[in-house]
């Protein structure tokens, strides 16, 4: 479990030299202490985090491959951001609500949602398919930053319903990226969360790029420092460190649920792949940069840690790889067998109870489709 003294967490003052952040596990797998944050996992829990990371990466790679083979329309890979997502995702308590972007496949996995769901979405078979209320994980948001406002409104509702306070209180986490930090919506969400003391954690995965634009095009100060101007704490965490990501998120959520208001976490990480499968990052960044970040890989360091601490052996690592492969293969088989939706469904879900012109168009389209029946005979 994590504990944190959030009053010391980041915030104002002078900018620390980069990349100063909360870190509990170095790239070499050394467990390091931090004055304010720690984790106290059982051996099994440490192994569980490793398993999550490996599976999440494997499923993501499978989705990318499926897109390349023409089986998905598009895919936004989380490659490189597994620790930020698994750490924060596992830090959520059951009652907490998450508002993701289109890249939060790792958080989705941690919420217990069948990983086929986003693939159904990007295959065009359904609109996501999961129940946000059952899993406490909202639908993916495509328009950059819009979900931070939804999350803020939802969090204000938690306060209004009297569900803030104590360990059972509820909190909200809003995911977004470095590019979104320049959006008016995100800044307005900060204002609102602050003045209404909403129980929300703004979790920014700074993966260094907004499509092609480097972080320098969005900000001159470390992003977490912006929180001070809005009147709530902000801190930067090593987003490639699953332990630190877990610790700071758990502390921030617990503070929010107890009525201490919003906070901003900047998870400092790196998008190792493309923005989406429509993008080619070699057009705007050099290979050596990727090499430098690969040395800070979020999975490698957990494996080194487990190894050094003798918490796992080769048999365990092999078994995790085998499980990941099995799940990926299973995912592929299920994606390929997903039926195309009936074309008439294009008229569904515009209005819950239909609408005159829409209904007329649906009827006309049904007649049109029916005109082909029998022509195959």
């Amino acid at each position: 479990m994590a504990k944190g003294d959030r009053t010391k967490a980041g915030g104002g003052g002078t900018a620390p030299p980069e990349p100063e952040f909360v870190q509990l596990l170095t790239p070499d797998g050394e467990r390091v202490a931090h004055p304010d944050y720690t984790v106290d996992f059982t051996d099994e829990e440490y192994r569980g985090l490793y398993r999550d990371l490996v599976i999440v990466r494997k499923l993501d790679a499978e989705a990318t491959a499926l897109q390349r083979q023409g089986e998905l329309g598009i895919w936004a890979s989380l490659l490189g951001q597994e620790a930020a997502q698994v750490g924060s995702g596992r830090a959520l308590r059951e009652q907490d609500m998450a508002f993701p972007t289109y890249r939060e496949h790792g958080v989705l996995y941690c919420r217990g949602i069948d990983p086929i769901m986003p693939l159904g979405l990007f295959r065009g078979v359904n609109q996501g398919g999961w129940d946000p209320n059952a899993f406490k994980f909202n639908m993916y948001t495509i328009v950059i930053g819009a979900q931070t406002l939804h999350a803020t409104g939802y969090a204000m509702g938690i306060t209004k319903d009297g569900r803030v306070g104590g360990g059972d209180g509820e909190a909200v986490i809003a995911y977004f990226g470095d590019g979104a930090s320049s959006q008016g919506d995100v800044n307005e969400a900060f204002v609102w969360a602050s003045v209404f003391n909403a129980p929300i954690v703004f979790f920014c995965q700074n993966n260094q790029y907004a499509i092609s634009e480097p972080i320098e095009r969005q900000t001159r100060v470390p992003l977490y420092q912006r929180a001070a101007g809005f009147g709530f704490p902000g801190l930067r965490v090593d987003g490639n460190d699953v332990l630190a990501s877990y610790a700071v998120t758990r502390a921030a959520l617990d503070a929010a649920r107890q009525g201490q208001g919003p906070s901003l976490i900047e998870a400092y990480t790196y998008r190792m792949g493309a923005h989406t499968t429509s993008d080619d990052p070699t057009r705007y960044r050099i290979a050596s940069e990727l090499d430098a970040w690969q040395a800070k890989d979020p999975i490698k360091r957990v494996r080194a840690f487990l190894d050094k601490q003798q918490l796992a052996d080769e048999a365990f690592f092999a078994e995790v790889d085998a499980q990941a492969q099995r799940e990926a293969t299973h995912l592929r088989e299920r994606v390929l067998s997903m039926p195309n939706p009936h074309p008439e469904q294009l008229f569904d879900n515009v209005y819950p109870h239909g609408s005159p012109l829409l209904d007329a168009e649906r009827a006309e389209f049904a007649d049109y489709l029916a005109s082909f029946e029998g022509s195959a005979n």
């Binding site: 495509i142 328009v143 930053g145 008016g184 294009l346 515009v350 829409l358």
Partner: protein
């Protein structure tokens, strides 16, 4: 005569404008080293440098608003908005500010700003990247709305747009970027008139942007059936060129409007109204419309195609207007 793509034609137009007028610059998301989300500005950073090809923070309202400021200060900015859907984040700057400043300043400040954006569906980008909202902008007094449908217009509309004192919105149809055509020199074109792209005598098919090719394809199929369709390309959505439209309809006595926007409260409704207001007694059939289904544009390819105007739908509408039964 050289074959060029719609994308290259726009790039060439930007390049020419930047060379001719040092007040011209381009700004938007990913327009620099990346060359724009749709590759339009590829190579321009290398030629003109980062002061004139400016990557901006991810702030639509800011880059449109800053463009207004630059235009007020005497510059001739070209603002690139990735898609029309994202222009909604800058609506206040476009509609409440750019479109009204001449009026609100008693005629002191024109806003010679050009905003380019991609519009249209058909590329499997889902509802929030695929809408055709240009007709909606055409509702707004103070704006001039252009919709190049040909390589020549893609090449030739930018310079007059930059010379125009109005805020000009240029809607580039996403499905056309790879389309190629012959370009004869690349002279500036007028941005006031509609164009008859195919003369005919039996019916007037009215399209623009992405629906021009839909209309022309339909016209070819109709020709096989002995129906001689005229195809009019609107080119400028505001102000509409009533004269060209009405002249055509008065000759053919029938009109079918093809618009990728929705029909309710739409540009196609406006055109239909103008025809019935001004040429009602010349009509031999009600004005017909072929528009997108009244749904958010679906993501699944087969449903997306079913939701969009297709040549078959235009052919059917024309046949109905001519009183010919299908089959």
């Amino acid at each position: 005569m050289a074959d060029t793509t719609y994308r290259e034609a726009i790039r060439e137009a930007i390049r020419e404008a930047m060379r001719r007028d040092e007040r011209v610059f381009l700004m938007g998301e990913d327009v620099g080293p990346y060359g724009g989300a749709f590759g339009v500005s590829l190579g321009l950073l290398e030629e003109f440098g980062p002061e004139r090809i400016r990557d901006t923070p991810l702030s639509e309202s800011a880059f449109v608003g800053a463009g207004i400021g630059a235009a007020l200060g005497g510059m001739r900015p070209i603002v690139e908005v990735m898609t029309v859907n994202f222009s909604l984040l800058a609506l206040d700057q476009i509609i409440n500010n750019a479109a009204t400043l001449l009026h609100m300043s008693g005629g002191q400040f024109a806003v010679p700003l050009v905003i380019r954006m991609t519009t249209g569906a058909g590329r499997q980008l889902a509802a929030q990247h695929s809408h055709s909202l240009e007709g909606w902008y055409a509702h707004i007094p103070g704006l001039r709305i252009l919709a190049p449908a040909t390589v020549a217009d893609a090449r030739g509309m930018l310079w007059p747009a930059l010379r125009c004192p109005d805020p000009v919105l240029i809607f580039e149809y996403g499905g056309l970027y790879n389309a190629s055509g012959e370009l004869d020199g690349g002279a500036a074109v007028d941005i006031d008139t509609a164009a008859v792209r195919r003369p005919g005598s039996d019916v007037t098919i009215i399209g623009y942007g992405g629906t021009l090719s839909t209309s022309l394809t339909a016209a070819d199929r109709l020709a096989d059936d002995g129906i001689d369709a005229e195809v009019v390309d609107l080119r400028t959505l505001r102000p509409l060129d009533d004269a060209t439209l009405l002249d055509s309809v008065r000759r053919t006595h029938r009109a079918v409007i093809v618009d990728e926007g929705w029909r309710s409260g739409s540009l196609s409704a406006e055109i239909s109204a103008r025809i019935t207001e001004q040429a009602f007694y010349d009509l031999d059939a009600p004005v017909a419309r072929v528009c997108s289904a009244e749904v958010p544009i679906p993501y699944a390819r087969h449903m997306e195609q079913a939701a969009l105007p297709q040549p078959a739908g235009v052919v059917a509408a024309v046949r109905a207007a001519l009183g010919r039964s299908d089959g």
